[in-house]
């Protein structure tokens, strides 16, 4: 417990800003030869069914292979002449009925085993703790009842948890192998997934979450494009008191950051949600680099005007109805955006409105996730890009 609390305490601003991003810890498969360690209350039934079927399979497989090898050795024809045995049976009704009925009984039993487990999996208990999940290309946003958001899943222990999931673009599927649960996230529908995990796992500071061996894996298992395999996140399970503390701190952390530290401390933390697609050192990615030297860097927002804009976007803007080709046509008094800051903010809340030339409509919107202070922090970071290294770490004016 103390250990856990000290880990949470690490999220205090000054400490976090100084911790080195750790190298990935080496990891081994957990559990048995067939299954990873089970960590949810429903996993036991699933594992029982899995192993029962596996043992049944061993029996049939070994039986079949032994018969096969035995017959081949025993009745092997040496040389070319056929050794015909006139008494070889052509059929045998009792035998054939037998090997039809026996498997039939077995599969009926297996079916019921799976059915029982499945009913349990598909009925979330009424008192479950609800977390809203939005899947997007390519990440997850978990939103808690008190307004806290997180890109990794943190849940209370010893309490049923229900995920209410939706997708903001294509199909995704949320899968936690250690819990043996999985459910597709379908655009235009809500889907539910529930589990209960009794063992707390502890938690690590936010910038270590992606690489730590602590916690359980969370994967996307429905193919969704380029970074499908990078939608993996972590599930951290906290004892109730710790969870409440985490949730509170997660909802309020931005308010506690002082104005002086807003862009240097909060900036990188928010940038971690963007780093998948936006670099700051000019290198190409899914989205335009914030420090792009050729088509206009966002640094200081000075060169932003140079950015070209997709001609075909359905924007009536431009200078009074004239479709623009560069951002200069859209930003300025009387135009679509008054100031560059307005443009940045609109890009974050409503990314499809104007597309940067050469990029597709792939950015998820962050409405409801990033408030005014968060946007201020991001813009502050953009204006001072030279104070951050390529990984988005604040290095100050000296670095």
């Amino acid at each position: 417990m103390m250990h856990l609390l000290s880990k949470i305490a690490v999220t205090a601003p000054s400490l976090l800003a100084q911790t080195e991003a750790p190298a990935a810890e080496s990891r081994e498969l957990t559990g048995t030869f067939w299954l990873p360690e089970a960590a949810s209350t429903s996993a036991e039934a699933t594992d029982f069914a899995f192993m029962a079927i596996t043992w049944l399979s061993y029996v049939f497989f070994v039986g079949i292979v032994i018969a096969l090898v035995y017959f081949v050795l025993k009745y092997r024809q040496r040389g070319n002449q056929v050794v015909y045995q006139a008494d070889a049976p052509l059929h045998n009704t009792p035998l054939e009925v037998g090997w039809t009925v026996l498997p039939l009984l077995l599969v009926v039993a297996i079916f019921f085993m799976g059915f029982k487990g499945f009913l349990d999996l598909s009925t979330p208990p009424r008192n479950a703790y609800e977390i809203n999940v939005t899947a997007y290309q390519w990440g997850w946003s978990f939103k808690y009842p008190n307004g806290a958001t997180s890109s990794h899943l943190v849940v209370p222990a010893a309490q049923p948890v229900k995920l209410v999931m939706r997708s903001s673009d294509v199909l995704h599927s949320l899968y936690i192998p250690d819990f043996r649960v999985k459910k597709d996230v379908v655009p235009g529908r809500y889907s539910y997934l529930w589990f209960q995990c009794d063992e707390p796992t502890g938690i690590v500071p936010e910038d270590e979450m992606a690489t730590t061996a602590t916690g359980h894996h969370l994967f996307c298992t429905e193919y969704c494009g380029t970074d499908h395999s990078n939608m993996n996140r972590k599930v951290f399970v906290l004892a109730e008191a710790d969870f409440e503390q985490w949730e509170e701190e997660q909802a309020r952390w931005l308010d506690k950051v002082s104005d002086e530290e807003l862009y240097s401390f909060a900036g990188p933390r928010i940038y971690s949600k963007c780093a998948n697609c936006h670099s700051i050192d000019g290198s190409a990615n899914t989205g335009p680099s914030w420090g792009n030297p050729t088509s206009g860097s966002l640094a200081g927002l000075g060169e932003i005007w140079k950015r070209t804009v997709e001609g075909s976007t359905p924007v009536t803007g431009g200078t009074k109805g004239r479709p623009g080709t560069t951002l200069a046509d859209y930003i300025g008094s009387g135009k679509l955006y008054e100031t560059p800051e307005d443009y940045i903010r609109a890009s974050i809340y409503n990314p499809g409105e104007i597309l940067v030339g050469g990029f597709g409509p792939n950015m998820p919107h962050f409405r409801g996730q990033l408030g005014d202070r968060a946007i201020d922090a991001v813009i502050g970071m953009m204006k001072n890009l030279d104070q951050f290294d390529a990984a988005g770490k604040f290095v100050g004016t000296g670095g």
Partner: protein, 567 residues
Amino acid sequence: MSTIDASTPTAVAPAAEPVDNYLTYTRGFLSWALTLDHKRIGVMYMFSVLLSFLVGGIFALLVRTELLTPGPTIPGVDANLYNQFFTLHGAIMVFLVIIPSIPAALGNFVLPVMLGAKDVAFPRLNLGSYYLWIIGAICAVASLLYGGFDTGWTFYTPYSTTTSTGGVIPVVIGVFILGFSSIFTGINFVVTIHKLRPPGMTWFRMPLFLWALYATALIQVLATPVLGITLLMLIVERVAQIGLFDPAMGGDPVLFQHFFWFYSHPAVYIMILPAMGIISEIISVHAHRHIFGYRFIAFSSVAIAIFSFLVWGHHMFTSGQSPLMNTLFSAITFSVAIPSAIKVFNWLATLYKGSISLNTPMLYGLGFIFLFTIGGLTGLHLGTLNTDIHLHDTYFVVAHFHYVMMGSALIAMIGGLHHWWPKMSGRMYNESHGAIGFWLVFIGFNVTFFTQFMLGSHGMPRRYYDYQPEFQSYHVISTIGSYIMALGFFWTAYYLIASLVSGRKAPSNPWGGRSLEWQCTSPPPHDNFKTTPSVGDCYDFSVVHWDEAEGGYVVDRDADPETRSAH
């Protein structure tokens, strides 16, 4: 000299090769390109399918190599390119290789000869299906010029209707056209089997390969149109922006999955049923033993064909489909397990008191039983509701369907290729070379795919460019297996080609088979049989003898009570 009259025993070996065989009957490019001869069309299919197999295989090797390490492995291959690799691998293997491989390639060659017929019922339609296949394949290649496609072979919406890769429409048109090729082949086979059976061949005297092709043809004709219309709807949505599947336009993405699997589950049986037919032939011919439980095997083919239409929802247990539907689909899925199990037991019983030659085709036949058993049993884990929730869309599924589609369907097709190779080419390949090839493929296959069961049950999702470091050792083993398998296939290609150049001339009946294709010369004459041959019990091996002078087996027809009376 003309061909041996099929109704007389081949007591005397033909000293000289008959001039009239289907390969030399006419010459020149056009004589092939415009041929109506089912055997030539079968050979052209075989060549095209094997070429596609090479291409699909290269993509598989690229995928496996990329997965040697987490993150980037092959220089220059990023996630987008990798996504195209596995998509191309899947689409090529399913639509261009496995679906046409047995019916269109081997079936075309063997079916009319087994019936003692001169050709299929509609030879022109047959050539037409081949050219549709070519056009479909060209569309698929053209899609690469338009930027390729990265949708996975399943084309799930709304990703497929929104992805920026430009090749989606060409390839979908290609698959649409391939569907028609498949439908036409199906119609042709159904009519041929109904109308062109020789006197004396009742339904229950047909070789089991024909039963299997018949059941397959029914699925092809009934299921493929659904795929066609689904793909058309996908194109309409992508081009005309009419919302059918994309919720952003008021459509329903799960509807696409229903449509897609309504075809693609039966398609699994388009792949596996004819494979089972081949295995029934191989096992009984090389064990020189009457097939055990003929009627059970024949009926189980038809039963599987019918059930195959009722289980598509088992691909969608996690899709949000109602629990009631999931339950029904799970229950019906188990019912397919029964006829499959029956077949395995029957094949085993056929070995009992047989006279087993361990020729290369037989090795493949026995290999099939081994691999299909694993593929089938692991299907139980996936048909069971709660375990599927855990295993769905992981490598466990990848391993399972490779055991069924490759380990079973493709292995059977390679076995069939060896079984009928002497008939098709007129040459014998080197037996010990064949055995080496088999063991390389068999061992390589198991090393590649068995590891993937453990990957999947430990939670490794499929279609991943990057993965967690703890999965790496299994991935490395799997990749090594794929190299062994590739070696086996290249080796096989080598000795088969070598046999064309320097192989011993094949006798009419190299294995001691009794069905009609072993009664005409190898290779068969242009119109197979001069007169309609008489039909005995095609699984009665009591009258089959080795003939040293012939270098093959002969059927002592006078000892056979059935054909004697037919004289």
